[in-house]
């Protein structure tokens, strides 16, 4: 049978707003499959997003959905999770939303190790506003505000998450569709802050400014740049130049924030 996405989608919302070839739709399908794998009760699941193309995912999936302000999704989600720790909390958004305007909320949600799954779609650009450079735009690349080439160094989102304290960090690409749902599902099952970075394509505002002739060129690039962690271990630094590690990059066990707070409640009540 074809996969039944319809039961997870709000009726009448398709076709979605994304441009032809944009990977956000592929990621959204992966997220739905992961939610199915984990048998998440949609009534007890909050999907929280910020502002931008990727953040529009919250409008399509039938659950408790919260489309917040630019960059603030992780902080809204923290409030939801604190108030109702029994809820499943999933955050979705883009690279600019999550690491520029929302950078502070992102790193502190990682530091707390609060139990949520953050799917961050990194397409190297601010797409919705027309292609301005983000903290993830490769140095030297073209954007509408870096016509002479991007002078900024780049954030590695997964490294940022690991450094900030997230206890599950994984990366894949929009091309690797079957890996998307597996990693998101693993993140959902993980107790603590899970970051799933999906390297994504924006053909409209990034690709055409940066010598990608088509969506297919971009997809091939995603395919070529991805190196599974295990394979990378056998490769030289030279061979890994320009590549992107994929798979589970980091996993550790550390106390989860709402469980820690539950202990504080016990302590305060007994005091």
């Amino acid at each position: 049978m074809a996969y039944d996405y319809d039961k997870s989608l709000r009726p009448g919302k398709l076709p979605h707003i994304w441009c032809p070839g944009c990977g956000h739709g592929i990621v959204m399908k992966g997220l739905i499959r992961a939610m199915d794998t984990c048998e998440l009760d949609r009534k007890n699941t909050a999907i929280v997003s910020g502002i931008g193309c990727a953040s529009r995912i919250s409008g399509y999936i039938d659950a408790c959905t919260l489309h917040t302000a630019h960059g603030r999704a992780a902080a809204f989600a923290t409030g939801v999770k604190m108030a109702k720790p029994e809820m499943n909390v999933i955050v979705v958004g883009g690279d600019g939303d999550g690491t520029a305007i929302g950078g502070n909320h992102f790193i502190h949600a990682c530091r707390r190790n609060i139990d949520m799954t953050y799917v961050i779609m990194n397409n190297f650009i601010y797409g919705m506003t027309g292609g301005q450079f983000s903290p993830c735009t490769p140095t030297g690349d073209k954007a509408s505000t870096t016509v002479y080439g991007n002078p900024d160094p780049v954030f590695d989102i997964s490294k940022l998450a690991i450094g900030a304290g997230a206890t599950f960090v994984a990366r894949t690409t929009a091309f690797h569709a079957t890996q998307i749902d597996k990693l998101i599902a693993e993140g959902i099952k993980h107790k603590g802050m899970s970051i799933i970075e999906v390297i994504d394509d924006c053909p409209t505002t990034y690709g055409r400014r940066n010598q990608f002739r088509s969506v297919i060129d971009m997809m091939k690039r995603l395919k070529d740049m991805a190196v599974p962690v295990a394979a990378a271990a056998k490769m030289t630094a030279e061979q890994l130049d320009g590549k992107m590690l994929t798979g589970v990059l980091h996993k550790e066990v550390r106390p989860e924030y709402t469980e820690q707070y539950a202990k504080i409640i016990d302590l305060a009540k007994s005091a």
């Binding site: 709000r10 949609r42 009534k43 007890n44 909050a46 929280v48 919250s58 409008g59 039938d62 659950a63 408790c64 959905t65 919260l66 489309h67 917040t68 302000a69 603030r72 902080a75 809204f76 989600a77 923290t78 409030g79 939801v80 999770k81 604190m82 108030a83 109702k84 029994e86 809820m87 502070n104 909320h105 790193i107 502190h108 707070y261 504080i264 409640i265 302590l267 305060a268 009540k269 005091a271």
Partner: protein, 379 residues
Amino acid sequence: MAKKVALLQGNDACAQGALYAGCMFFGGYPITPSTEIAEVLSIELPKRGGKFIQMEDEIGAMASVIGASLAGSKSLTASSGPGVSLKQELIGYACIAEIPCVIINVMRGGPSTGMPTGPGQSDVQQARWGTHGDHATIAVAPASVQEIFSETVRAFNLAEKYRMPVQVLYDEIVGHMRERIEFPEAGELEVIDRTAPTDSPEDYKPFDASKSDVPPLAAFGSDYKFHVTGLNKAADGFPTTKAELVDAEERRQISKVEKPEARADIESNEEYLTDDAEVVIFAYGSTSRSARYAVNELRKEGIKAGLFRPITLWPFPENRIAELAKQVKAIVVAEMNLGQMLLEVERVAKGTCATPFIGRVDGEPINPGQLIAQVKEAL
């Protein structure tokens, strides 16, 4: 039975009022002179299963409050001028998405860092217009420790009843003042909870105003699944750019607060010796305490002075001020800023009486002597 009494600081009374109202979530960020509210709630909330979180910044604090409220908890944040400036983005979000929450602003001077340990009343227009876009505002201004308690309870009630953010503004003097407070018994003050939906989860529309201009709000994690956005939206909560829907929604969200029945419910003023007054001092917060003293002194000299003290700053008490403007020779406006509520008094008085002004922004309170001199000059 004797009432429970205590000598309490204003900020402590605010925290106690929040607990009385049923607050179960506080998200904040440290800032003088409001920090004691967070400190008290960090101790008291977990005792009753509530949640306290110190967020990474002021914006995050406001975001967490909205998230927690949407998950069904009565939620509070507290800050001061610079912090409330940062929160404005999401106060607007709470307005358009109609999320009940309470924001305490213990006012200091400004702009910017200003005088962190000095009092001010210069955020009263920020409370009204600080976030962008047209919206209604409810803001209250208690003037004593007892009133901080009761107005915090009332702020929660108004937030829940009208499904929106409500701001409590008091200056540093009242916030750090210690006074005797009588704690109301449980049930003595009204406590209002938000209206739960009666529609089935299948039929529920979070912004359906066909039955009430304050649509019922379901909670995340209940039987209801719904969408919330900061975009202009239709009754079902999904974004729309249809002109007539956007227009109707914006107007409804303002009229739910500003229509006459709502104003009568929300407005609260204290009048002192205004019946026969020839001059009235308009003052709120700690300034009103100096004004009351001045009125008493003026009365001893046979001068018919009175005090009008708005407890609800927004919506502004337009009708009563318009009446008083016809009755008196002057409304003396006194506030610790350079003429913010004065603009409202002038707007409403429309020149029917004089509106002399006393403002201070030097971190010192307005003293009775200044007020007495100004009243005499006005007559």
